[in-house]
């Protein structure tokens, strides 16, 4: 298609992620996907809340959860939400280096979060909470594990984008990609807000 390609330069639009029809489609479709994900996590939360008293002989929430660890994890994820906001602001400014830098910061915080989560699961396992120990155990690991899987997927996705586009500069193609990845990342944080409240805080206090 080289013969058909134009040489005109594009100037930076105010919302580069929505400047093309493809970008607008991606933006809307991804939001709708998040609407579906809301129900997906709703089902997991419901299952957990229905089963959280089913501890049988195994350890229960108050035997396991430590607020300090959860607080650190919460702060990490919340901060990573802010770094991804900065990334988008830099994208709209046309500061591509800033976009990349803040996205890398987001990835690093995501990895740190995952590290804490793995450590957490490892500890619970050694306190006698296996995946099959009780209905509480199964539903807890499924809910928090599904969230963790989302974090892992988000980290890999953003990393692929960062490596693929390390030198390309901001384009009409990669702006929607970064933007949807950031939306996904915020959504992960939204889910975590409910997890730390419903699972951990209510597990200890309620």
């Amino acid at each position: 298609m080289a013969d058909h390609q134009a040489v005109e330069q594009h100037t930076l639009p105010p919302n580069p992620e929505k400047a093309t029809l493809e970008g607008r489609n991606k933006y809307l479709g991804f939001w709708f996907f998040l609407g579906g994900e809301t129900v997906l996590f709703g089902s997991l939360f419901g299952t957990y809340l229905g089963l959280r008293d089913g501890v049988v002989d195994g350890p229960g929430p108050s035997d396991l959860f430590h607020l300090d660890l959860v607080f650190i994890m919460t702060m990490i994820l919340l901060t990573s939400s802010l770094t991804s906001v900065f990334a988008v602001i830099n994208m709209k400014r046309g500061n591509y280096k800033g976009l990349l830098m803040w996205m890398w910061a987001t990835v690093l915080l995501g990895v740190a979060f995952l590290g804490f989560e793995i450590y957490e699961f490892y500890e619970y396992y050694h306190l006698g909470l296996g995946f099959t120990t009780s209905a509480f155990a199964s539903s807890f690991y499924t809910l928090v594990g599904t969230h963790g899987a989302h974090v892992a997927f988000g980290v890999s996705w953003i990393t692929v984008l960062l490596i693929r586009y390390r030198k390309s500069g901001l384009t009409l193609t990669n702006a929607p990609k970064f933007y949807t990845a950031v939306l996904y990342w915020h959504f992960i944080d939204v889910v975590w807000v409910f997890i730390f409240t419903v699972v951990y805080l209510l597990g200890i206090g309620g």
Binding site: Q9, T20, G42, L67, G94, A175, L201
Partner: protein, 115 residues
């Protein structure tokens, strides 16, 4: 031979003055909402960690704080308050509605207590 847009060409130029101003304002709003989120998160943790707060108060309190924080995330960090997000709002709130129904059902209607 007509010309076609090359979507892989890097975008050139600077944003307009008004965009710059808007982004500057946004930066400030986002920082404020972040600080506020940190604050209410800490409040939630404190109200559970401290023995001074009775759980009859703490439980509804932290649930409200969680809702506030989610609204902040959706409307500020994720810009659901921007123009042209009507359908986004429809789908997210429908999703939240169905999710809330699901959660309530699985807490109440699983045959343990009859209503």
């Amino acid at each position: 031979m007509s010309s076609h847009v090359d979507p892989s060409a890097p975008l050139q130029g600077k944003p307009s003055k008004s965009t710059e101003r808007k982004l500057k304002n946004e930066m400030r709003t986002q920082l404020i909402s972040f600080v506020f989120m940190i604050f209410i998160t800490s409040m939630a943790f404190l109200s559970i960690a401290s023995d001074a707060v009775p759980s009859g108060f703490a439980i509804p309190f932290i649930l409200i704080l969680a809702s506030v924080q989610v609204i902040l995330q959706l409307y500020f960090f994720m810009h659901m308050n921007a123009k042209g997000t009507g359908w986004v709002n429809v789908m997210i709130w429908s999703g939240l509605f169905v999710a809330a129904l699901t959660v309530a059902t699985l807490m109440l209607l699983i045959g343990v207590v009859k209503y």
